[in-house]
């Protein structure tokens, strides 16, 4: 298989397949689910059968149906959050590199201080004061994680702002917004695309961890992380119920990481390497 002239190996192909499946589950999941997410249709942690592929959960609800409903919450929430992260991070990064001066210094200092504390700690503090709701989750994670996008965008854009064609655009009298959007952004895209994949994985794991701790998505809504929490006790009876949603999170993250690795290898930067 080839994508725009680049060979796609087995790993990245699996990655693309996983991403397509995840998106499909998020879009069509609730239509495919045979039972409602909160219908009690069997025994507590009942075994899997032909009608109930993944068995039942801690209240006797159909696990497979809940997985599909949770897929929509999980995937859409992570995509929206990652997009917000990027809007904040990229705009701040471009502004810092194009405008420079005091704005650059102030933004850098603020980002340094935020990054001096592990993100989970800051997120816990914010959630304890504002309470857990979907807008608060999105806002908190987007602001905390945009620091990394800001640093990357700024580093890439700094190298581009000094090039002649940017100077030409400025002398031509183009506005600040135009220079940022038409000259600098398109030329810093490849590292940002790879970063989007990595931030997606980070956000997925982060929201899952918060939900697992009981501080993310609240019932009756559900995502994969809170499904792990609900079914955690089953593990002591030797049942794999909490592993099903946990494995779904793992598979999606591995899939995205495989594609990111492939993308980075095309653009000549090894995974995890700083610019």
């Amino acid at each position: 298989m080839r994508i725009s002239g680049h060979r796609v190996g087995i790993g990245p192909s699996i990655g693309f397949l996983v991403i397509l499946l995840a998106i499909w589950a998020a879009v069509a999941g609730p239509m495919l689910a045979p039972y409602g997410p909160n219908d009690i249709v069997g025994d507590v942690w009942g075994p899997a059968s032909a009608q109930h592929w993944l068995g039942f959960d801690n209240l006797g609800r159909d696990m497979a149906s809940r997985m599909l409903y949770a897929a929509r919450t999980t995937i859409s929430l992570v995509i929206v959050t990652t997009c917000c992260t990027f809007v904040i991070g990229v705009i701040a990064g471009l502004a810092a590199s194009v405008i420079g001066g005091w704005l650059d210094i102030v933004l850098l200092r603020v980002v340094d201080i935020i990054m001096a504390v592990p993100q989970l700690i800051l997120a816990l503090i914010v959630l304890s004061v504002l309470g857990t709701s979907i807008p608060v989750l999105i806002g908190t994670i987007a602001i905390l994680d945009s620091t990394r996008v800001f640093r990357l965008t700024r580093a890439v854009a700094m190298n581009i702002t000094v090039l002649d064609y940017v100077e030409v655009a400025r002398l031509r009298g183009e506005g600040l917004w135009w220079v940022m959007r038409r000259e600098i952004l398109p030329n810093s895209l490849p590292p940002l695309v790879a970063e989007f994949g990595m931030r997606f994985c980070f956000t997925l794991l982060f929201i899952a961890a918060l939900s697992f701790l009981g501080l993310g998505i609240q019932p009756p809504a559900t995502d994969w992380g809170s499904m792990v929490r609900e079914n955690a006790l089953a593990i002591n009876f030797g049942l794999a119920a909490p592993l099903i949603p946990a494995a779904a999170i793992a598979v999606v993250t591995i899939g995205v990481n495989l594609v990111v690795d492939w993308f980075l290898s095309i653009h000549g930067r090894a995974h995890g390497e700083e610019l």
């Binding site: 340094d112 201080i113 935020i114 001096a116 504390v117 592990p118 993100q119 989970l120 700690i121 800051l122 816990l124 503090i125 914010v126 959630l127 304890s128 004061v129 504002l130 309470g131 994985c201 794991l205 899952a208 961890a209 697992f212 701790l213 009981g214 501080l215 992380g225 792990v228 955690a232 593990i235 002591n236 009876f237 030797g238 794999a240 909490p242 592993l243 946990a246 494995a247 999170i249 793992a250 993250t253 591995i254 990481n257 495989l258 690795d261 090894a270 995974h271 995890g272 390497e273």
Partner: protein, 316 residues
């Protein structure tokens, strides 16, 4: 020169610690949600809210409250829990030791193992060993901490029955008993941190391997392992120390989730409970301990990096 650099780095570290304490204080005190209202809920009478505000000293200006809080913290007075009225310090004390014990057991195994594996994969770059380890570590990085924890419980505690699934530790246990009790949570943490640390160690060594002096060493006819161990490793030591410090942050975050999975009595568990109860003094204390540890680790790593790499001592 070395003394001045060390002093500067120490000063910067203390400034960062102060900034972090301001951030944590501001996070709990100045955000739009009113703490008093949050404790009592929406149905509270205005009189009750006013009484709580008075009790918490919320009527004083924020700057005064911050200084008071920081002064108390430096003297071991962490305030009283809002949930049960007991001093926060008393709740922290044995839990802090438990968390430190778990984290240091994990770090003692993970750090040497990660560095050795990182070096081996770098020597063997693109070989079979490298590819297999790389694939495994990519998976380990992608898997949520609680997944690793539950798989370990399922295999070693439930199926084989070798180790306890609940990591209950008490003051009267001997070191051996404690080690057995934390075996599964420590293994979970090790697996989480090991993968990150190994990948970054490998990247740091490979980053040095592309430099001209390495090519010279190869051209002299030295075997690959000698080039890596004697020429690349000393120069990669500074970045590797940074990598270790960064990954001890994963340990801090991982410890919170792991403690919840194994119901381990540490400060991670305490902080999560406090967040769901909105117990602000406990959250501030735990936050400052976690944040402060992270800042201190980074500072120590920078100082070590200056010590092992003479080039960093020259101002650029």
């Amino acid at each position: 020169m070395l003394l001045r650099l060390t002093g500067e780095r120490l000063a910067l570290g203390i400034l960062t610690l102060l900034a972090v304490s301001v951030l944590i204080f501001a996070g709990t005190e100045l955000l739009p949600g009113d703490v008093a209202q949050a404790i009592l809920g929406q149905t509270a009478t205005p009189a009750a809210v006013a009484a709580i505000r008075e009790q918490l000293g919320l009527n004083q200006p924020a700057v005064l409250r911050y200084l008071h809080w920081l002064w108390g913290f430096l003297h071991g007075d962490l305030g009283r829990s809002l949930a049960n009225g007991r001093p926060v310090a008393a709740q922290l004390d044995f839990r802090l030791l438990n968390t430190l014990f778990l984290a240091s057991v994990a770090a003692c195994v993970a750090v040497p193992l990660a560095v050795v594996l990182g070096i081996l994969t770098a020597i063997n770059r693109n070989g079979v060993f490298d590819r297999v380890v790389n694939m495994l570590s990519l998976s380990a990085v992608s898997v949520p901490d609680f997944f690793i924890g539950y798989v370990l419980i399922l295999i070693f505690a439930v199926q084989l029955g070798w180790l306890p699934s609940l990591a209950a530790v008490t003051g009267s246990m001997s070191l051996g008993q404690r080690l057995v009790a934390v075996a599964l949570p420590a293994t979970t943490l090790i697996l989480v941190v090991l993968a990150h640390m190994m990948r970054m160690t490998r990247a740091a060594i490979i980053g040095v391997m592309v430099q001209p002096f390495i090519e010279t060493a190869f051209l002299k006819g030295l075997p690959r392992w000698r080039v890596v161990v004697q020429h690349a490793l000393p120069n990669a030591l500074a970045p590797i120390i940074n990598v270790v410090a960064i990954n001890l942050a994963y340990l801090i975050v991982g410890v919170i989730v792991t403690e919840v999975v194994f119901v381990y009595p540490g400060i991670g568990q305490l902080m999560v409970d406090a967040v769901s109860k909105r117990d602000v003094p406990v959250i501030q204390a735990c936050g400052l301990i976690f944040g402060g540890t992270y800042v201190a680790l980074n500072m120590i790593a920078d100082l070590l990096a200056i010590l092992v790499n003479p080039r960093l001592r020259v101002p650029r």
